[in-house]
């Protein structure tokens, strides 16, 4: 196993958001997480890379065990340098150009030289077909372009796992396709990914495993066909029929 979570718990005040999550991720696996709003999907991703600290739980990443409730400073940095994240609202650095957005993590997270970082960053930009935009600031780019740069910024770090938090839900419908295409390419290259998404077609097409998440718990998981076509739990069925009306 590349990543293993055991008994991950998180509470905000009296709100039990994560109620003991167990999750194991194999190398190269693409996992799609679906579930209703407020069920704790974002919170789970943020706990995995320590943007928030869990109340309980252990994480094993590449054989290294980390107490998620009390990680050391080194463990936090180490984890973040083996993972990357793509945000719902892109969060590109507004004071940096497209190229700098990508090279920044290489220089200041991985101690690469400026020249090497820029070469790698240019290549990553090329992979998302945006090399011609390298000197543009985020404000000069469309949402779709920003998110593809967000993906390049994450993958250029050569992470073990990339976490995606609803990467297309802030985008205009006509821009969603370009971002999903880049994500699919990434999956085909064998990148391990955990993707929180409402894009059922993407989950069906790309994910090795679909997880249905509700009330801070994993309710059901399996192949896309299993979960979408033969849901076992009443909760899953309700959720799927509710969103079916939207699509």
């Amino acid at each position: 196993m590349l990543l293993e979570l055991k008994n991950l718990k998180k509470t905000f005040k009296n709100n039990h958001v994560l109620k003991g999550i167990d999750l194991a991720v194999k190398e190269g696996e693409v996992i799609a997480i679906i579930g209703p709003s407020g069920s704790g999907k974002t919170t789970m991703l943020r706990n995995i890379n320590f943007l928030e600290t869990a109340d309980a739980g252990t994480m094993t990443l590449r054989q290294k065990r980390i107490d998620m409730a009390a990680p050391t400073q080194e463990q936090v940095l180490w984890t973040r340098r083996h993972m990357a994240m793509v945000f719902q609202n892109y969060n590109l650095f507004k004071n940096k150009t497209a190229l700098e957005n990508i090279s920044e993590g290489l220089i200041f997270g991985q101690n690469k030289s400026k020249e090497e970082a820029e070469t790698l960053a240019s290549r990553a930009l090329d992979q998302v077909d945006l090399l011609d935009k390298k000197d543009f600031y985020p404000s000069q780019l469309s949402g779709g372009q920003q998110q593809r740069i967000g993906i390049a910024r994450a993958t250029v770090l050569n992470p073990d796992i990339v976490l995606f938090d609803e990467p297309t839900s802030a985008l205009d419908p006509e821009l969603v396709g370009t971002v999903l295409r880049d994500m699919k390419r990434l999956a085909e290259r064998g990148q391990t990914m955990i993707v929180v998404t409402h894009q059922m077609a993407f989950a069906r097409d790309v994910a090795d495993r679909v997880i249905f998440f509700a009330d801070g718990q994993i309710i059901e998981q399996g192949s896309a066909d299993d979960v979408f076509d033969h849901p076992q739990h009443e909760r899953t069925q309700r959720f799927l029929s509710a969103i079916a009306e939207d699509y």
């Binding site: 890379n49 943007l51 940095l77 973040r80 340098r81 993972m83 990357a84 994240m85 945000f87 609202n89 969060n91 590109l92 650095f93 507004k94 004071n95 940096k96 920044e104 993590g105 200041f108 997270g109 991985q110 543009f136 600031y137 985020p138 404000s139 000069q140 910024r153 994450a154 770090l157």
Partner: protein, 223 residues
């Protein structure tokens, strides 16, 4: 002819005015950053200290601040055995203006810092930067950009406030003008002050122009 004489006399005070402006602004910024840092601490004592300082300075006319610096600082320093009575008046002028403006600047920095999108910091952490890199490379530049319009206004306010150092006898541009108007026993007084106003206006216009250039350089950075 008369106008040139007025102009050259007044301009002889300009270097002092600019010296006051530049040094006060630098010191006020440094103190302002420290104050902003204090008031952003979770520590209630640090916070209270910064808030209290701000509350006091906010209600103090800059003129009074200068007088208090001039008459008060030497006594304050004497308490700890340091004699600063012989310091040049210019230093007291800079001290008085710095104390006043540091409070306003700290507010500008503090509110700018708080309005940086927290997602920017998280994104920096997520690409593997440590907290200090995230601060210096991402948060700090964005904070400065957000604070820019307020800083511009404060700098312009400071230009005007430098005229108040006449109360402690510094020969800045304004004081040179009153001197000249007294020498002339009341003729051309209007001309003197109108010319003086125009010189101050030009200084302010130059500052505004400078800030416009900065804004143009960063026009695509929409923080």
């Amino acid at each position: 002819m008369r106008l040139t004489k007025i102009m050259t006399t007044l301009l002889s005070g300009l270097p002092t005015t600019l010296t006051l402006l530049i040094f006060s602004f630098i010191f006020a910024s440094v103190i302002g950053v420290c104050l902003a840092w204090l008031s952003l601490r979770r520590n209630p004592v640090a916070k209270g200290l910064a808030r209290g300082y701000l509350g006091l300075v906010r209600g103090t006319p800059p003129l009074l601040m200068l007088l208090l610096a001039y008459y008060g600082l030497p006594k304050l320093f004497l308490l700890v055995g340091i004699d600063i009575n012989d310091w040049a008046k210019l230093l007291f002028g800079i001290a008085g203006l710095s104390i006043g403006w540091s409070a306003y600047l700290s507010e500008a920095f503090r509110s700018a810092y708080l309005s940086v999108d927290p997602g920017q910091y998280e994104a920096a952490l997520v690409v593997g930067m440590d907290a200090s890199h995230a601060f210096w490379r991402i948060l700090m530049p964005q904070t400065l950009l957000i604070a820019l319009p307020n800083v511009e206004n404060l700098l312009i306010g400071l230009v005007k406030a430098t005229s108040l150092v006449y109360v402690i006898g510094i020969m800045d541009m304004y004081n040179t003008a009153t001197d000249l108007s007294n020498q002339n026993q009341g003729v051309y007084q209007l001309e003197i002050f109108v010319v003086l106003a125009f010189i101050y206006w030009l200084v302010v216009l130059a500052i505004e122009w400078g800030f416009r250039q900065i804004r143009k350089d960063y026009q695509y950075v929409t923080v």
